[in-house]
Amino acid sequence: MKRRNFMQGLLLSSAVAITTSPTLLSAEEKPKKAGPNDMDYKTAEAAITGGKEIKESDTLKLTVPEIAENGAVVPVKVEVDHPMEENNFVKAIHVLNTKNGNARSADIMLTPLNGKGYFATRIKLGGTQDVVALVELSDGTFLKAAKSVKVTIGGCG
């Protein structure tokens, strides 16, 4: 379907909805109260990288579930296949989300003594969204990996 047809289709269906009953759309569009630590993803990413270029890399592996078993404790694992030598090491691993009030879930600073570019934790996700691993290497390079996690109340048997 072309984008234009699709948009028309959407308009049509929402017109039907207004005359009878609203869809979830209107329920979701209510403005949320901002918390003191709220930060959206773009701002968080820029704060970490200072606007530097971010590379996608095979050396960075992010492991998250496709569907969260429990949105309150979603396991996240970040592995960086990179040396941990004195002048060449994984300097930081940042775990971010794209839709929670606060996009920053964890910031971990490493030194060569950590021996491995590895970090695993559990984070809370308020709804279906991407989890992002942002890694800083000692030479100032940034690597990124993102994966979607579905958060659901659950359904079938």
Partner: protein, 591 residues
């Protein structure tokens, strides 16, 4: 049962007597005419053998050790990219995809078409006493050491006798059938301890590579709960069998039963086990015994290399022909004990050189019952016979389960709950197991259990705000209609009583449902509604749970039928699908 020559020809054709990879026409010439006169059990088990290894496959029996009627869905809607493909076909689209003829045993077993008439003609389906003769016959033909019986799970739960014996009657039945290896899903709803007790009683093995310890403070953190695979020496060949239990057990069923265990697809570790079996254990063939669901396994086969066969389960699809994705052959054997899948494998030079497959319908009237099986059933049912044989009432119309949005037995359950709880809206789960009653049938207490026999039968009544109800419905819709099979969970939409809605399946997530009416009025997002639900997690989202009203669903439904005496449920759905004109679309989402 009267079967005339014409019926027989249809049955013979429908049974797929020629097998998948070809064969000889058993009904040609004079000898053929003779065969036709004597239609029997032999025609069900007739098969062109291949190689020396035979794997028999069953899935999703749901504890039906006795024969039953089971009608396949008349509506099986999904995302537009998926409808019309195996896993999302039914009725006419199933018939045209697999070449099923009208009036045949295949039409009766595989589709909803002509169901009440064909049910009278062909009788009940499945039952262990009718499955066993098929298994025995094949073991005799091939040599019993050359045959394995693999069970894709959802076996221990689904009937009163299973619930009341906490699964033990069914494990006894599995031992009688000779199950060698199994995986699980509803099995887990008996709780962790009981699962281990039942595995002790099972003569076969329980395997799963995708269930791991989830407790970071335990010494076994991220360790496997069950053996991930087993290697069987069959006819001089080494067969590696890897287990996949249901990946979404912890979201689909209450977490309390599997606290501390983590379920997921885990295709990466599956690939590691495939490599380990190939490279270190030097197996000749790799089989994944799975409860992922038919469509998920088709996706899995794209991600994991080196699997020869996936014996699938969970979604209850009968697939008379194998589905081949990359180099993996995917098979699934329906549900409720209706079929036994026979897979013969020819192994040459340490790899699979050929195979033949057939889904054998357990048409109970064509298969004389095995007495040992009947005795086993009688033994386990005896303590409960009086309760279960109570006639609660009769049904005027067809009572069935399945379909994407609405089915009559669910509508009856919803009606019963609403009558007792006086709630505005009732949610009944979109499970795919249950039973079917033919118009005019008595409704036994046993039948009510066949629809509701779970270890968490409580009907909860609580308050939910309109906007939350709308959100929950969208969430459920996204689990059912997501265009990525990996994000579906293989069930149908929750059924609603007291409400109606329209749905645009292809609309984006969160925007599918419109025209949502509760009690005949448009939903008020700010209003608080009284909601009853069972079999799910919905009560956790609600407020002011009325603890005095909590009662087992099978008792609520039984009371209602006793009171009504005659049940007359409309076949008309309370859900209008805006972007499909029929229940069983073909590929391209056309009707």
């Amino acid at each position: 049962m009267d079967i005339n020559r014409r019926d027989f020809l249809q049955i013979a054709a429908a049974l797929g007597l020629l097998g998948v990879t070809g064969g000889t026409n058993l009904f040609a010439g004079e000898a053929g005419k003779e065969r036709i006169k004597k239609l029997s059990f032999n025609d069900i088990v007739d098969f062109e053998p291949k190689g020396k290894v035979t794997l028999l496959h069953i899935c999703d029996m749901h504890a039906h050790i006795k024969p039953l009627y089971w009608r396949e869905p008349s509506t099986l809607i999904s995302a537009k990219n998926l409808v019309g493909t195996p896993g999302f076909i039914c009725g006419d689209s199933f018939e045209s995809y697999y070449g099923v003829e009208s009036g045949t045993v295949d039409q009766y077993f595989d589709t909803h078409n002509n169901f009440p008439a064909l049910a009278k003609k062909f009788g009940k389906m499945g039952g262990i006493s009718h499955m066993k003769p098929i298994i025995d016959h094949i073991k005799k033909e091939r040599g019993k050491e050359n045959v394995l019986l693999l069970d894709s799970g959802d076996t221990w739960q689904g009937t009163a006798v299973a619930l009341k014996t906490k699964g033990e009657a069914i494990v006894d039945a599995q031992n009688y059938l000779g199950v060698d290896v199994m995986v699980g899903h509803w099995e887990f709803t008996y709780g962790k301890e009981r699962v281990f007790e039942l595995i002790e009683k099972l003569n076969g093995e329980f395997i799963s590579q995708n269930v791991i310890d989830n407790d970071p403070f335990s010494d076994e953190f991220e360790e496997l709960i069950f053996p991930p695979y087993t290697i069987k020496e069959v006819a001089g060949a080494k067969i590696g069998i890897i287990g996949q239990s249901f990946p979404f057990t912890s979201t689909a069923n209450p977490k309390k039963f599997t606290e501390g265990w983590s379920f997921a697809l885990r295709h990466e570790s599956l690939q590691e086990f495939v490599n380990e079996l190939r490279n270190e254990k030097k197996v000749d063939a790799i089989v994944v015994l799975s409860h992922d669901g038919f469509s998920v396994d088709q996706e899995l086969a794209k991600k994991v290399k080196g699997v020869d066969f996936i014996l699938s389960g969970h979604t209850h699809d009968p697939s008379p022909k194998p589905i081949i994705v990359n180099d993996t052959v995917i098979l699934i054997a329906g549900s409720h004990g209706k079929y036994i899948g026979r897979l013969d494998i020819d192994i040459k030079d340490k790899k699979v050189a050929g195979y033949n497959f057939k889904l054998m319908p357990v048409a109970s009237n064509l298969i004389p019952a095995d007495k040992t099986g009947d005795a086993l059933i009688a033994k386990w049912y005896k303590p409960f016979d009086k309760e279960l044989n109570e006639v609660l009432g009769t049904t005027k119309g067809l009572l069935y389960k399945r379909d994407t949005f609405y089915s009559t037995f669910d509508a009856l359950i919803g009606e019963a709950i609403q009558d007792e709880m006086k709630s505005d809206i009732v949610f009944t789960p979109g499970y795919r197991w249950g039973t079917t009653l033919i118009p005019g049938d008595d409704i036994l207490k046993d039948n009510v259990y066949e629809m509701t026999a779970i270890t968490y039968p409580e009907v909860y009544t609580f308050e939910l705000k309109g906007d939350l109800i709308a959100k929950l419905m969208e969430d459920i819709a996204d689990n059912v209609f997501n265009e990525n099979p990996l994000l579906q969970q293989g069930g149908d939409m929750s059924r609603l009583t007291g409400a109606s809605y329209s749905i645009k399946v292809a609309a984006p997530s969160g925007k599918r449902i419109s025209d949502f009416m509760i009690g005949g009025k448009p939903i008020d997002l700010k209003k608080t509604y009284l909601v009853s639900s069972w079999g799910g997690n919905l009560q956790n989202a609600g407020e002011n749970l009325d603890e005095k009203k909590i009662r087992a669903v099978y008792e609520v439904v039984s009371d209602y039928i006793r009171k009504q005496k005659t049940i007359d449920i409309s076949m008309k759905s309370n859900v209008q699908v805006l972007d499909f004109d029929c229940g069983c679309p073909i590929k391209g989402a056309k009707c």
